[in-house]
Symmetry: C2
């Protein structure tokens, strides 16, 4: 599993030998801040809030991994130490402010510290995910890459009505098929590129790992009040598993027809 | 430097601490076929031919690295064992045939062997290059990525008149600026996307390592009869170094103006 090893935080990989086609990715699974960063100067409440992680996302991702027989890779540390869905020079990678909260431990970050976190967290993650994907490709098993996120129902004081967002990078095929399946199979308020889109630079993982290899991919966003308990997470996984299967079947049908 | 270590062939990285902005990449620098692949069943002549490597490219790349104060990363083994400018499931990654030559050692390659070569050669390469790039980005020194290739003057019996090709991936800015500088500063027969283009799936390195990070990038192709000796390679580096500098200056000017 995860853990510190010579100051390197490796990604956590579950079900590495899974037979299904999907690789699930959860960049914001954890709110763990390793000791050396002294809680980044945050209160206990702040460290539980959505700024530190995507609450509920890991539970849903695990439920989906089981139901889809998928491999799951997830983050070992909080997005406030390093946000794995951001390049090392993006402001959001080690943010000095997130929503309405200042992050004291990131306020005056030096280039040396930026490099140290990149080497300790971002590089092991990107190498680990890349190896997983490239190995599947080598075996002739081109994976489908789906990232699992949650979002806060209230952002900057404004309520968000969308419940399930599907965000695409350069290739929209899978996202559109998943959205269509969600409309047909669920009562979720489901929308494309909501509550934000690739234009907001939120598809870094897909852009680095899926798009260059031409792999089908999508980013899922679930409103976190719907997945606040383990039971709610399991129920959401039960709802979304057939939606993802239907979306994947649809693009496979399209690929055969073309 | 390069070398075998527990059956892993690491990329060779020269001048890792160079202060310049460019990272030079030479995926086809070597015609070395490690013992375990028994020369892939090829004759000595075939192992010297362009199908095994890009003759002269490493010499030019080293000359450019010195003149641009650039870091250089190059391949430790022949492209016929693993072509580092190809994804693991592309036919050209471990080709059964190259131009007019059958490659016996690649004729009946199994999925297991494909995975073994991917793990031994492709993954160390992609991880090494990615780490180099991400570390520069973390330090606020966004690199320019330029790959250096050579091509054969006669392909499938047909003579190629182009001497210097500049090939772009999604972002053409740097390639266009380099081509313009070549026309102004040299007498080389220089062309865009020649003798082939991204549509022929030859920009894998740029697509995986430069495009997702929005880094300026270009692929250079030099006709190999012009760089057949160390002297000719040094002369070509002397010709091209100011061309690359002029191209980079031009896109920096454009970036400031926009």
């Amino acid at each position: 599993m995860a853990g510190k090893k010579a100051d390197i935080w490796q990604p956590v990989i579950e079900r590495p030998e899974a037979a299904g086609r999907v690789i699930l990715v959860c960049e914001h699974a954890s709110n763990h801040i390793p000791d050396q960063w002294d809680d980044l100067g945050l209160t206990a409440d702040q460290r539980q809030a959505h700024i530190a992680w995507d609450p509920g996302a890991l539970g849903v991702a695990r439920g989906l991994a089981e139901r889809l027989d998928a491999t799951l890779i997830h983050a070992p540390v909080s997005r406030l130490v390093y946000d794995l869905n951001r390049a090392p020079d993006m402001a959001g990678a080690m943010p000095a402010r997130s929503e309405v909260h200042d992050i004291p431990g990131n306020a005056a970050i030096t280039a040396t510290e930026r490099l140290a976190r990149t080497e300790a967290i971002y590089l092991p993650w990107t190498n680990g995910l890349h190896n997983l994907i490239a190995n599947r490709i080598a075996l002739g098993r081109r994976p489908v890459v789906i990232t699992i996120h949650s979002f806060t129902p209230i952002y900057h004081g404004r309520q968000r009505l969308v419940e399930f967002g599907v965000i695409h990078d350069a290739d929209a095929h899978l996202s559109v098929a998943i959205l269509d399946a969600a409309h047909r199979k669920t009562r979720l308020q489901a929308e494309l590129n909501s509550p934000y889109s690739a234009a907001d630079d939120v598809t870094h993982t897909l852009r680095v790992h899926a798009t260059p290899y031409g792999l089908p991919n999508a980013m899922l966003e679930i409103r976190n009040d719907l997945i606040a308990t383990p039971e709610a997470q399991a129920k959401m996984a039960e709802t979304l598993a057939p939606v993802l299967n239907m979306g994947i079947e649809e693009i496979q049908k399209q690929a055969k027809a073309s």
